[in-house]
Symmetry: C2
């Protein structure tokens, strides 16, 4: 069977088939032909200011949509997103990196073409370290199969992949000798049955079982399965920081975020005293484990995630995480009384007492918690933006996004663009420190250009406050910008300077009304004013 589709068109067609509707990127001469194809396709190209912004936006899009694509030119484009791709690898975000490249013909004739680093495959070698599959589409006989293979890897492993398309191959028809074939990983049925049987016994016999839910619930689209499990059994559930909001935080059985010794103490006490801790979709990272203060005794744990299923001290091989989750949700688990969890809603209720009182970090987070609506998605950058927001109660599943493990500063603003392109019905509330904002905040230009309207809360501590609590020095200082005047530079958006609680009220009210573009609230905080959570984390990071 042959087909007349070009290699470039096939790639776009397959992305579309897997739910991709937007591609983030920056043009460059080696990718212009493919960009022209995008323009003619059903997919929309979102040009960012810098490739880094495109990389972060795609990472966020992938987390929300299940797959994303970023499209850049060779060398000067591709290597700018090594870091954002690394974050996708570390945190299971399936981004398809598409890079233009010199044509196969011209490579033979000319060894020193601009944008080339060392060898023609140097960029590919770099991305082999940062992805689960990679290919150069240099052969029409295999290109379509290669596209299938690489996209299937992204979808299966929920991690980035790399596709390089030489510019003289974009319009070449690919030959098809095969029927697309995406072998699905399968569990061994008997092992799965044995594992479920053991888990059932442990859970049903437990006095105080608890679920600890993590980021993979979201990545593998298992939120509904988890909710079914919780509602059926009334087992209380905590989430990891990286998995925050994988369970709807309005669920009666929801306890809060578990982070060992640096998180909330009543959540810790409840989880660690449980006689059956059901850990679902959690990567055992330092941040998830409260910088290794977590005390999760293995003999009392059932731990299922994409890489392993273990119960107590033994491991069940050949059991897929998704299969285990589905089997558990439909297994004969006893329904319990809704065990009234300890009061973990630690953020106090908020009421302005003195409009002239300076805003503090603690009061700011309390106020923002009451600002969250059903259509809000919180996107927290690294640092106190994350630590402080961990105690928010968000009002829908998957309404909280943050790179809480790889922790690349500057994620949040471009991520808001990715999120809103995938879910235009949500309005992002971005929390970002001044240090991170100076890295990528200028991508509000992209937000403005493409009709996104995030509300950006800029926590201005005059530098890197998290690091000040680890080791301080002048290296933690930054230039104080007039952040609220950014709209004057961009010619779009609304800016607010907030020093007092009264100003905070006015700014939030106006931001809620101003929906046609972004709003930025520069909230001035003391240099060392940080959430209690930050101080606990920093002491663990020294």
């Amino acid at each position: 069977m042959t087909t007349e589709i070009t290699i470039g068109e096939y790639l776009l067609q397959q992305l579309h088939q897997h739910g991709v509707r937007h591609i983030f990127g920056v043009p460059g001469d080696f990718v212009l032909k493919f960009m022209t194809l995008i323009e003619q396709s059903e997919l929309e190209l979102i040009n960012t200011c810098d490739e880094q912004g495109a990389g972060f936006a795609a990472d966020a899009y992938a987390r929300v949509q299940g797959l994303a694509a970023v499209c850049v030119t060779y060398g000067v484009g591709g290597l700018k997103i090594a870091n954002t791709t690394a974050q996708g690898f570390a945190e299971l975000s399936p981004v398809v990196v598409i890079s233009g490249a010199p044509g196969i013909e011209e490579r033979l004739r000319h060894p020193l073409i601009h944008h080339k680093v060392r060898e023609f495959d140097t960029q590919k070698k770099v991305f082999e370290e940062l992805t689960v599959a990679s290919t150069v589409l240099d052969n029409p006989d295999t290109a379509l199969e290669e596209i299938d293979r690489v996209l299937a890897a992204a979808l299966r492993f929920k991690r980035p992949v790399y596709i390089e398309i030489p510019r003289d191959m974009v319009m070449v028809p690919g030959r098809r000798y095969h029927t697309p074939n995406h072998p699905k990983a399968q569990s061994d049925p008997e092992t799965l049955q044995a594992a479920i049987k053991e888990a059932l016994t442990l859970i049903n016999n437990a006095k105080q079982p608890v679920i600890l839910a993590g980021e993979e619930i979201h990545r593998f689209r298992l939120q509904d399965v988890l909710q079914e499990l919780i509602r059926k059994t009334n087992i209380p559930v905590a989430a990891t920081i990286l998995g925050k909001s994988v369970v709807d935080e309005d669920e009666p059985a929801y306890l809060g975020i578990y982070q060992g010794g640096i998180g909330q103490q009543n959540v810790r006490a409840y989880v660690e005293s449980s006689d059956c801790i059901i850990i679902l979709g959690v990567m055992m990272t330092d941040m998830n484990l409260g910088i290794y203060t977590a005390r999760l005794e293995r003999e009392r744990c059932i731990h299922a995630f994409s890489e392993k299923l273990s119960i107590g001290y033994h491991v069940y091989e050949d059991v897929q995480f998704t299969d285990f989750m589905n089997a558990l949700a439909t297994a004969e688990l006893s329904a319990r009384e809704l065990h009234c969890p300890p009061n973990c809603k630690l953020l106090p209720t908020y009421k302005v007492q003195d409009p002239n009182a300076p805003v503090t970090a603690e009061r700011l987070f309390a106020r923002l918690n009451t600002f969250l609506g059903k259509d809000t998605i919180v996107i927290a950058d690294v640092g106190d933006a994350l630590f402080g927001a961990a105690d928010f109660s968000v009002h829908r599943s998957a309404a909280f996004l943050s790179p809480a493990y790889y922790a690349s500063l500057g994620f949040a603003v471009p991520a808001a663009i990715g999120v809103q392109k995938a879910q235009p019905q949500l309005r992002p509330l971005v929390l970002v420190g001044d240090g991170a904002f100076q890295m990528t905040g200028i991508e509000l230009s992209t937000a403005a250009r493409f009709g996104c309207n995030p509300i950006v809360i800029l926590l201005n501590n005059g530098g890197y406050v998290t690091e000040r609590y680890i080791i301080d020095g002048s290296f933690n200082d930054i230039l104080p910008w007039n952040y609220s005047r950014l709209p004057e530079l961009l010619g779009k958006g609304r800016g607010f300077l907030v020093k007092t609680e009264g100003e905070l009220e006015v700014a939030l009210q106006e931001a809620a009304l101003h929906t046609e573009s972004f709003c930025i609230l520069e909230v001035q905080l003391g240099k060392m004013d940080a959430s209690a959570a930050l101080k606990r984390v920093a002491s663990g990071l020294v």
Copy 2:
């Protein structure tokens, strides 16, 4: 022999010894201890907004100073400068990449530490592709020798190197068993003599010899040797675009920039009709060769650069470029009459005729050419900023900087910081397009913070004009910013909006007087208004 110096101190001491006085970087927890050491040392840390800015600034510093260092944290810092390091590799810029990293101890205990991508050596593997030497300082017994080895490679090959320093090794004393030993590459004396003899004969017998000088003259610090050669012989000299200003352009024997068919036609005619073309320090890249339009007949060429020495169709092995240059400059070359070169100063003299006339690209470059003083260093970003500025006459050696081969957009603004830290007596004139400015222009924040005062000429064409001449589409559009209002955001600097020739005069005069901080002149040009050079280049890039 033992010594009590710590590994961190030794690294700083050696950098200082090799002329490094500034380190560019962004802090992060894994590098804070080393940052503290920098703060206590004789070196100054220049914090940029984003790691990319630090990478570009270091690249520029290395080109001017001979060696540079950029210091970042693990993963989220290091991988952000993969691209700037790649540029250093491609264009021979010796930047020492110093990355903090998790401690050796904690790596053993905890497999999933934040900022980690895949394996603990993933970042090192990436940098092995982008550098000529790399090391992880994980052993006090070898760390000092490793530092010596890696720095020696940077100095010898003029290319980036990578040094990773786990945070628990910074303060550990290194043991010294050796005397520093930097074996110097040496020429075979007899081969060198034979090569010089053949070159002498060819040059002295030639009717119209010409020198084509390239970027390596600058990298290997051979400007004085080249000048001696020119003044002694009066042989006319052209430069490549990547090597622009390796020879003082006020030299009577200077012809201009040779770029084959896309450069100036009288320079091309003179060079290509020569019966002895002495090509010194030139990499045969597409840009240097005018996108392969150059016609340099090998039988009439002597071509010496760091990788090879060839005369006509044969090659002399084991001859170092520096040795050949020195031997040539002192060889018995005949002195000639100063052959009056063709008039290659193509930029017309400039006089405002109508102050209300809109500024055009052609008139802008002509005006700027007259603005260049003895203390100006021109830094051109990629695109028309470079193509248009290629015809400038700069008034000192090494007063023109541009990544004319690797061509990473966004280089110029952060480069100005690197240049001015190395040479505070010079004032950078930065030429940058609006697309490139949206990538890294925000680093004017860093310029302002650290007392740099570049004059930035922003060529605002409303998008990527070079690409419009290759393939146009909406992907070449960008959001129009009010660029001249950037000083209001940063709280520093002066901004000017320039639409007419009269406004250009006023702005340049004020910029010349305002020396305490940066000035930005947004020059509004027509969407397709570009230099003739750009149009010639673009037609070669399709």
